[in-house]
């Protein structure tokens, strides 16, 4: 791939390192406030879920079923730890793999259709998973899965670290989310980026130049489901209880919410889900006194962003640059089209 603005690249790693440093020092900044650390841990888990959702937009599809994969991951984590007696780490990986496997089975028929049909299929799948969890005794029925243990203590540099409180689980969750995001980023940028971009831009032309369209769509869907499953598993080990209720985070409403997070953040940028989820979570936290109007606030923000920032919050710098370029250009901009 070629890039015109090579000079701009070094700024990015610095920003990322700074961001990671802030994230890691957050418990100290917040001086261990359990409430805010809980908010931030859930935020990190949601960022992963929204990023996995955004990953599907790279092949030009909108999935409304990622909470379904999160549910598969969460219940797998809970059941493997409770009934299977497996450790946190092995059930974490198995939960992700199970979600990926489900995506692999469903992916072929689902990805043969496009656009709204794909969205509807994924939406119905998520709802089906939720209803199965709701009605099956194996998954604890409508009361849900209770008493999922925290990750077992780890021996770090001769010190035993327990993960029963949010102060320590925060690091575990955030660390895993960062690793997962780096993997997603790598897939997007290096390994299969050309194929995915080609499919997104014009799937017919992509096939004509030799891309196995359905295969690369499957790769995308499976990776994204794996990440959604991991986010669900992290949630299960954090909350200790899972509910298959409509109002739970596995309901349809949550599918819509994470879609809004993604759009507000800007789906054309990798950082978009992080920005969108953070902003809207903070807005939700600060409007807690008027909690019943909170969906309206979120909706209003979504509408305003879509109207005035079509590229989302992450696209704002580029938008400002273009606007400034137009306002303060001393000489005419270079002609864009050919002679």
């Amino acid at each position: 791939m070629t890039r015109a603005g090579l000079a701009r690249i070094p700024a990015k790693p610095i920003a990322i390192v700074a961001l990671i440093a802030v994230v890691l020092l957050m418990p100290n900044i917040l001086s261990g406030s359990t409430y805010w650390l809980t908010v931030l841990t859930l935020l990190a888990i949601n960022v992963l879920l929204v990023s996995s959702l955004r990953s599907v937009t790279l092949i030009n599809e909108i999935s409304l079923g990622h909470v379904g994969f999160a549910l598969v991951g969460a219940y797998a984590q809970g059941l493997l730890m409770l009934k299977g007696g497996l450790s946190f780490w092995s059930s974490l990986i198995l939960s992700g793999l199970l979600a990926a496997f489900v995506a692999a089975v469903l992916g072929y028929p689902f990805l043969k259709v496009k656009g709204i049909y794909f969205s509807i299929l994924t939406l119905l799948t998520a709802e089906t998973f939720r209803l199965v969890a709701y009605y099956s005794d194996f998954t604890g029925g409508f009361t849900g899965l209770l008493g999922i243990p925290a990750p077992e203590p780890m021996n770090l540099f001769g010190r035993t670290v327990e993960f029963t409180t949010v102060n320590t689980y925060y690091y575990l969750a955030v660390g895993l989310v960062i690793v997962a995001l780096l993997i997603l980023y790598h897939f997007e940028r290096a390994y299969v980026s050309f194929q995915w971009r080609a499919i997104r831009d014009d799937s017919m032309l992509a096939a004509a130049v030799g891309v196995n369209v359905i295969r690369f769509k499957m790769v995308n869907f499976i990776i994204s489901a794996f990440m959604a499953g991991i986010s669900g598993a992290l949630f299960a080990a954090f909350q200790h209880n899972l509910s298959p209720d409509t109002t739970s985070r596995f309901g349809t409403l949550m599918s819509i919410y994470i879609l809004v997070y993604m759009v507000v953040g800007g789906k054309s940028h990798f950082i978009g889900p992080f920005i969108g989820t953070t902003v809207l979570t903070l807005v939700a936290e600060f409007t807690r006194p008027i909690a019943e109007y909170q969906p309206m606030v979120t909706g209003a923000i979504a509408i305003l962003v879509m109207l005035f920032m079509p590229m989302g919050l992450a696209g704002l710098p580029a938008q400002i640059r273009r606007w400034a370029g137009k306002q303060f250009a001393t000489r005419p901009l270079p002609k864009q089209s050919g002679e």
Partner: protein, 257 residues
């Protein structure tokens, strides 16, 4: 020698036979013109050959290999490249990236060497970029390599489409109305591109085109389709003079009310 052969090829859309019982032979190294009135089945035939559509009946043989059931990407890897009637380009990419995509995609990338950006991988990438710039120079777009593909004017986009198709080093090039909407200069340069390619690389070309003057200048042989069937074939001059062809295009006297 026959490079591509269709045997009793047919495709139905509901009750309509867009192509029926078509036996067509494309010889190695020729430029074959495919002409016929609107709705004759020319684009359908190209879609059948490149795999966008599946044949309802009959067989397609490419280099003695039955490709009737092959999906489009496998046919592309065998050396069949297609230029669509619309300007099909990768919209989010620059001119150069479009051509790179055209050549990269069937090169097998070993995930590990991509991950660590091995010297071998970087060297190969450089080679591909050089080759793509050569291709852009060939179609006359090398000076605009870093512009967005969609910002090019129509004629140049058309040339870019050809460059994308050529990036895979095709054996058989399928062109669907390459001259549509072009002015005289652009037409001349596109004809020149197709001819040079055929002369220097021996690329066999199957071209659908309505511009008769261009077909006369370009093609050694042409096939006329009407209602999905072969009406006649021969040199373009013979075809144009054939009364059956004139009738297909203009109708007979009795049709005129």
């Amino acid at each position: 020698m026959a490079l591509l052969e269709t045997r009793n090829l047919g495709r139905n859309f509901g009750g309509l036979a867009a192509v029926s019982n078509l036996d067509l032979v494309v010889d190695e190294g020729e430029i074959l013109g495919l002409i016929g009135p609107n709705g004759a089945g020319k684009s359908t035939l190209l879609n059948l050959v490149d795999g966008t559509l599946r044949a309802s009946k009959g067989r397609i043989v490419f280099r003695d290999q039955d490709i009737t059931r092959y999906p489009p990407h496998r046919r592309a890897r065998l050396g069949i490249a297609r230029v669509f009637q619309r300007n099909a380009l990768f919209k989010s990419m620059t001119v150069l990236d479009n051509v790179l995509a055209g050549s990269f995609l069937h090169a097998r990338h070993d995930p590990f060497s991509v991950l660590v950006r091995s010297l071998e991988h970087v060297r190969r990438q450089r080679e591909v970029i050089t080759r793509c710039m050569d291709l852009l120079a060939f179609v006359g777009l090398d000076d605009r390599a870093h512009m967005m593909a969609t910002s090019l004017p129509h004629g140049s986009q058309r040339e870019l489409c050809v460059a994308v198709a050529l990036a895979s080093d095709p054996i058989l090039l399928l062109l669907d109305e390459p001259l549509t909407g072009m002015n005289a200069d652009e037409t001349a340069s596109m004809i020149n591109i197709i001819k040079t390619l055929n002369r220097e690389k021996g690329t066999t070309t199957l071209v659908v085109e309505h511009n008769m003057k261009a077909v006369l200048g370009l093609c050694g042989r042409s096939v006329v389709l009407n209602y999905g069937q072969k009406l006649t074939e021969g040199t373009p001059r013979e075809c144009v003079a054939d009364p059956a062809v004139i009738e297909a295009y203009l109708g007979t006297d009795t049709d005129v009310v």
